[in-house]
Amino acid sequence: MGFWRTLIRHPEFRLGFAEMAAVAPGIAAWGLMTGVAMVKSGMGTLEALFMAATVFAGSAQLAAIPLLLAGAPVWVILATAFCVNLRFVVFSAHMRSYVMHLPMRLRLLTGYLTGDLTYVLFIKQHPQPATDEAGRFGQVAYLLGNGSINWFSWTASSLLGVVLANFIPTSWGLGFAGILALVGMTCSLASSRLRWVAGGVAGCAGVAAFALPMKLNILVAIAAAVALCLLLEKTPWGRMPQPRAH
């Protein structure tokens, strides 16, 4: 099929792939420990394998499993997973203008593959939606190259974690590599004064609002950081010349 062949050979596909491959070991360690945690929380092996292969949302999976095992109503489980995933709704609002030229099934595929790190890397590489057809195709190529290797390293390592769950103690703390991958990504974003403010505010709000159910602390933190930065943009301090975001 011509579309896919052109897409995979596009330099932007390779760039997206390479930028995510650079952090893939961190993702893999994190995925491995998520697979282990799924089984340790009492899930059967086949169910855990099915979940690890399809759901592709670590925090939502770990939130849903206890409810599933406790026999909670299906709608409660799905609503909980949706709330844990609410930050992705914010991302989808941001990503809309990059993907609306695609047919629906491709939009759904790119959306599914856009995890946290893919979103962050993509917006860093392409701060503005392209205005011509070649540019739009390149942006989609970057997105799919980046998302596909992220999906693969996360999913393959989660499956491995499920299979090896009884042999890998969670006490080793290998999953911390995933947090360090996020830390590294954060450092690469911290290119302006207001970005530092956004990070600091969101970190504090995320901790302060941690008691909220269903990881809503993350949404509260994003809202607080964005609101404060929008206010500070209007002040002389926020408008000071800043290094270009790369």
Binding site: M51, A81, G184, A198, F210
Partner: protein, 120 residues
């Protein structure tokens, strides 16, 4: 001997897991579904530039300074030094090359001995 495979397969569970995969797609594509002409207001466009940074820090901070839902009250926690080591590596290398991977390796090299060796 430890069993590698355990548990039974419950059809309601399998259907719920399939629905959870659909929830992943729905959340990530919610604003892609409608074809109608519509763009974000200008303030939202500007505000979203801070969303990636904010989302990352909101996810990271509780994972580093909290345990069992409470702020930690000790400096004997391997995660603190792991994060400091990763950030130090990143900024000393000025973000050049495979620096995120280097930061992960450097952070784990500090974290694992403290965590496994000293139990921090």
């Amino acid at each position: 001997m430890t069993e590698m495979f355990s548990g039974e397969v419950n059809l309601v569970h399998m259907a719920t897991i399939a629905a959870l995969a659909c929830v992943s797609v729905l959340a990530r594509c919610l604003f892609f579904i409608s074809d109608s002409e519509w763009t974000l207001p200008d303030w939202a466009q500007r505000g979203l530039r801070y969303a990636p940074m904010a989302a990352l820090c909101a996810v990271i901070a509780p994972e580093v300074v909290m345990s069992q839902g409470h702020l930690i009250h000790t400096l004997q926690d391997a995660r603190l030094y792991g994060v400091v080591a990763a950030m130090a590596y990143f900024f000393l290398r000025r973000g050049v090359g495979q620096v995120v991977l280097g930061a992960i390796v450097c952070g784990m090299a500090v974290y694992l001995p403290l965590h496994i060796g000293l139990g921090w």
